[in-house]
């Protein structure tokens, strides 16, 4: 459990008190898990006291408080975790009903909006899929991670890989049209051949998926796996192998019609995850549940159309503190981090996440925004250098776009650009 952050006296209401644009996206965090996987650094835990019902009650209160700040209609909802599919079907029924009553879901119901729920393959049942579908959910993202028992074991994932295609088929049967799965690569001991088999298995799933996320295993600080790596209990995959796996993946998925639209995300044209795109484009989204993070852009004078500054906050990452806070303050969660609008920071964050996208950044808008806060000549020089090094394309419709090689160094390029945003 992440517990180091201390709650301040602030609540999410403080972040939403000023004039801001209505948020078109909503994130819900469900912290419950079967098992805390040792590579995971999300807020999640094994609930031994069965607080699911109390959790859903508190969530309802919070959603009620947030609703006036949402756009009507809402465009995207994403329920992540933890393991959202661990919530019992009757609670899902209650939750989806409440969401439907509190927010304008017309867009989503009409199929023009997106509502994703992350699912663990073991937990997918026909009943759950039907409940979700009836509640308005139109997209599932299944955490497969690998189809190889050995590698699942290395990750401390205990599901049977057979259940992945089964879960996706059940979702399809229930009429959930949009389906994605997650894979992890560069797992200790995994060979390029192993990885290729995983990807081929994913591509062979019937009916086919429209979206796939492939993450290189990341050793996050404060995870059990990182501690074990430091103790020398195993060896991380060499960078060379990781790069080889990635490069093969990009090529293979391209052939399969799944284009890379973000560093680790691939989709058929039009099937990109709209909710995640809202993050990467630094739009506005509301946050519900413990540890959920929100971002809402200020309204009014738009000095900086490239990246309007906003409030960014994070709900307290403890279930009890969150539930108590929400009940105490009319649905408003205590927050542990709250960053107020800042022009320079907004540009920096827009660059940092936007550069990861295939669509890249609008160069003229970026330079214009930078010029409103200072001298942009250094930034211009950094862009030129990255182009000269072959990390950015020379010019694609006036956009700053990473080359294939640039994707491998996306952090370095972003850091260079960020550090030369004028101050």
């Amino acid at each position: 459990m992440q517990g180091e952050a201390q709650a301040s006296d602030q609540t999410a209401r403080d972040a939403l008190s000023g004039p801001h644009e209505p948020a078109r996206s909503l994130y819900l965090h469900v912290p419950f898990c079967f098992h805390k996987c040792h590579y995971c650094d999300f807020y999640s835990f094994v609930d031994t006291r069965d607080r699911q019902e109390a959790f859903v009650d508190a969530l309802a209160l919070e959603l009620h408080a947030l609703a006036p700040h949402a756009a009507a209609p809402l465009e995207t909802i994403f329920v992540g975790g933890g393991t959202p599919s661990l919530l019992r079907p009757e609670l899902w029924e209650r939750l989806t009903r409440h969401i439907g009553e509190t927010f304008d879901l017309s867009h989503i119901r009409a199929g023009r909006g997106e509502w994703t729920v992350e699912c663990n393959p073991e937990t997918v049942t026909p009943e759950l899929m039907r409940v979700l579908r009836d509640g308005g959910v139109n997209r599932v993202s299944v955490g497969a991670q690998s189809f190889d028992h050995r590698h699942l074991k290395a990750l401390e994932r205990w599901h049977d890989p057979e259940n992945v295609p089964r879960a996706l088929a059940l979702a399809a049967d229930a009429g959930i049209e949009r389906r994605s799965l997650d894979l992890i690569y560069a797992i200790p001991g995994q060979t390029l051949g192993d990885w290729k088999r995983d990807v081929e298995t994913a591509l062979a799933i019937d009916p086919p998926i429209e979206h796939i996320s492939c993450y290189a295993l990341t050793y996050e600080p404060n995870t059990a796996m990182t501690a074990r790596l430091r103790r020398g209990e195993f060896q991380a995959a060499p960078d060379e192998l990781e790069v080889e796996m990635y490069e093969w993946l990009v090529e293979r998925l391209r052939v399969a019609g799944l284009e890379r639209y973000e560093v680790s995300n691939f989709a058929r044209r039009g099937a990109e995850c709209a909710h995640n795109l809202a993050y990467w484009r630094q739009r506005s989204w509301l946050a519900a549940g413990p540890s959920a993070s929100g971002h809402v852009r200020t309204a009014g004078e738009r000095a900086n159309a490239f990246a309007p500054p906003g409030n960014r906050w994070k709900n307290v990452p403890q279930l009890t503190a969150w539930m108590d806070g929400v009940k105490r303050s009319e649905g408003w969660s205590p927050v542990v981090e709250h960053e107020t609008p800042d022009d320079r920071r907004a540009i920096i964050e827009r660059v940092m996440t936007g550069l990861r996208l295939r669509e890249g950044l609008d160069e003229a808008s970026l330079l214009e925004a930078a010029a409103t806060i200072g001298d942009a000549s250094e930034l211009r020089a950094t862009i030129a250098r990255a182009r000269a090094s072959g990390l950015l394309y020379d010019d694609i419709d006036g956009h700053l776009t990473l080359t294939d090689r640039g994707y491998l160094f996306a952090d370095g390029v972003a850091a260079d650009l960020m550090s030369t945003i004028p101050s």
Binding site: Y27, Y215, A216, L217, T218, D239, E240, E242, V243, Y246, V263, S264, N276, Y279, W280, W285, A287, S291, A292, S293, G294, H295, R312, K314, E337, E339, R345, I348, E349, M352, T353, R356, S389, Y407, L408, F409, A410, D411, G412, A414, A415, D416, M418, S419
Partner: protein, 605 residues
């Protein structure tokens, strides 16, 4: 004057010199048993902790022997390899010396070195075998060793236990009976030898003196004959060991003098003090100036190369600490340096390696600064084509090849006391270190002394550690610098991505260049982070590359996951990385972290 005895105790480190000193003071009732629990003559924390005496002090006590009172002036000496110079200046103030040898350890390298110092100063020696209370003591064997090595008859040895007091009365008697009285005045004018000086925040410099001719009185206007400055004596006194003021100090006596002297720079150890209005025709024979032979740089540990400039707070703190310590220890030198890698600091010169360690520790402890210390180097002499001889303390200052005839390095005569079983290993070590074998001396069945000539540069480079480990700690050594000798010495440059890194250049013997070059390159390879391109790290002598390592190109620099909740954390992470890069030194478009410099510049393997 016939009842005055001026003497020192000399010994190998840890042979019980300070304990014996305390026991002697106690036996003469100068101190109570309780006070004697502390080693009285060592007045610095550091000395007490390390069990070594750094600054010489002088104590005067009275002792009854044979029905008459004796004034004993006991001049303490430091007991370690680097302080030959300080020992010798203390000995000049004495007529006799007590040579202490541990009954369980026997004669050691510094026993021999110190004994010869005393003999060369025409001092009478009383050999003392100490620690006879220990179960493993072998006093008769040790007395035989003394006879064998130093030619002093074994029966002259006095067996004592400074710990229990056994034999102390006999020793006090021997001091009175066997050590000579001071010589009578040779001239009518006053001459006193300055044998030490310390700095006191309130009274200024306190000068330790031994009066050889005439008398010094409070109120006298004195002249320092060497420095050529005059002062008025405001205070004279003795340590008993408590400070006691006296009105005068006469020929044969020792004591201290205060004369409103503001800095140690105004006092030269070995100078002769005379009376301004009645000057001695010529000074007493003095000492040679101490020569700094080992050099290293001190940098403030927290400064960074780019922003922690000369005006930086850390550097200023270091400067204050260095200046203050130098007031008390004028035998180390310092000058401001700037390193591309480490910013502003000081290049300091020391009498030897231990002296260097002590100065560093005192700076950190007394000055409260944290120090980065670079690996020590020695002084080189460069003979230019025009005959000029330049002294080089920093490889970066070496003139261009072709502009000089030769490079000379300091050579030492080293005595190494080793167990017979490790002789082969130690000889091999000396040969590897370019040693020239001189002779071998039998001490006892179990031990021998090896006499070698070795370049000082080879000794300061982990020689002592190797000696200790190959002799299971029993090997001891003492060395003395004998002069400069030319050899095939070359400047080894380190190139990162084709660009030389000046701060990493070293001077080495040509035969060692490949080995050292490989070592440096491999250390750097571990410390320099991967870049987007491949980085060659080369060691070169002149234009010739003699070692190479390659840092492979970084293959990727991208975070797999970045979602709504990660933005703040990831932003801070990237900003921090960038900050870290700014603190690195850019050489040939390669960012070299300070740690990389340190891994190479710091001591040890």
């Amino acid at each position: 004057m016939s009842d005055i005895r001026n003497f020192s105790i000399i010994a190998h480190i840890d042979h019980g010199k300070s304990t014996l000193a305390d026991r002697l003071l106690q036996a003469t009732h100068a101190v109570s048993a309780r006070e004697a629990q502390e080693q009285l003559l060592d007045d610095m924390d550091l000395e007490r902790e390390r069990g070594i005496t750094i600054k010489a002090s002088a104590v005067t006590v009275m002792h009854q022997h044979g029905g008459k009172p004796f004034m004993m002036n006991f001049i303490d000496t430091p007991g370690h390899v680097d302080f030959t110079y300080e020992v010798s200046r203390a000995l000049t103030a004495c007529e006799g010396a007590i040579l202490v040898v541990d009954a369980t350890q026997g004669v050691q390298a510094q026993t021999v070195a110190n004994a010869y110092l005393a003999i060369n100063n025409d001092l009478e020696l009383i050999p003392v075998v100490n620690k006879i209370d220990l179960p493993s003591a072998a006093p008769d064997d040790v007395a035989m060793e003394i006879e064998q090595i130093l030619g002093i008859p074994a029966e002259d040895c006095i067996y004592v236990s400074a710990k229990t007091g056994q034999g102390i009365d006999e020793l006090l008697g021997a001091i009175c009976d066997r050590l000579p009285a001071p010589r009578p005045s040779l001239i009518t004018q006053t001459r006193a030898l300055v044998f030490d000086a310390t700095y006191d925040d309130y009274r200024g410099v306190i000068v330790y003196i031994r009066c050889f001719d005439g008398t010094l009185r409070v109120g006298d206007k004195i002249r320092m004959m060497g420095v050529g400055r005059t002062f008025t004596v405001t205070e004279l006194g003795k340590f008993t060991p408590k400070q006691v003021k006296v009105k005068s100090i006469s020929a044969g006596e020792t004591g201290y003098l205060v004369a409103a002297i503001k800095t140690l720079a105004d006092v030269r150890i070995g100078d002769t003090i005379t009376i301004e209005h009645d000057q001695a025709p010529e000074p007493l024979p003095g000492y040679e100036e101490p020569k700094q032979m080992v050099f290293c740089d001190f940098y403030p540990a927290t400064a960074d190369a780019d922003s922690g400039g000369k005006g930086g707070a850390d550097f200023e703190e270091l400067r204050e600490a260095v200046e203050k310590l130098n007031l008390n220890d004028a035998s180390f030198t310092y000058q401001t340096v700037h390193s591309d890698a480490l910013g502003f600091g000081f290049r300091c010169g020391f009498l030897g390696l231990l002296h260097m360690d002590i100065v560093q520790e005192r700076l950190e402890r007394e000055g409260g600064v944290r120090i980065i210390q670079t690996a020590p180097t020695v002084t080189y002499q460069v003979l230019m084509h025009d005959g000029e001889v330049r002294e080089i303390h920093n490889p970066a200052d070496l003139p261009d090849p072709g502009s000089y005839e030769e490079i000379r390095e300091p050579i030492v005569r080293i005595d190494i006391m080793v167990p017979t079983t490790s002789i082969g290993d130690v000889m091999k070590l000396c040969n590897e270190r370019r040693g020239v074998f001189r002779s071998q001396q039998f001490v006892s069945g179990a031990r021998q002394i090896l006499h070698y000539e070795l370049p000082l540069a080879e000794i300061i480079y982990d020689f002592y550690d190797k000696l200790k480990s190959m002799t299971s700690g029993y090997g001891t050594m003492d060395y003395e610098i004998t002069g400069f000798v030319s050899d095939d010495l070359v400047k080894l440059d380190i190139l990162v991505n084709g660009t030389p890194v000046e701060a990493l250049s070293i001077i080495v013997h040509r035969d060692k260049a490949v080995y050292r070059g490989r070592l440096l390159c491999s250390k750097l390879r571990e410390q320099i982070p991967r870049h987007q391109f491949e980085i060659p790290i080369q060691a070169a002598v002149g234009a010739k590359v003699i070692a190479r390592e390659t840092i492979k190109a970084m293959r990727k620099d991208v975070t797999a996951k970045c979602y709504g909740g990660d933005v703040s954390r990831k932003r801070k992470l990237l900003e921090k990385q960038k900050e870290g890069k700014k603190r690195m030194k850019n050489v040939g478009s390669v960012n070299i972290p300070q740690d990389a410099f340190m891994s190479v510049l710091e001591q040890g393997e």
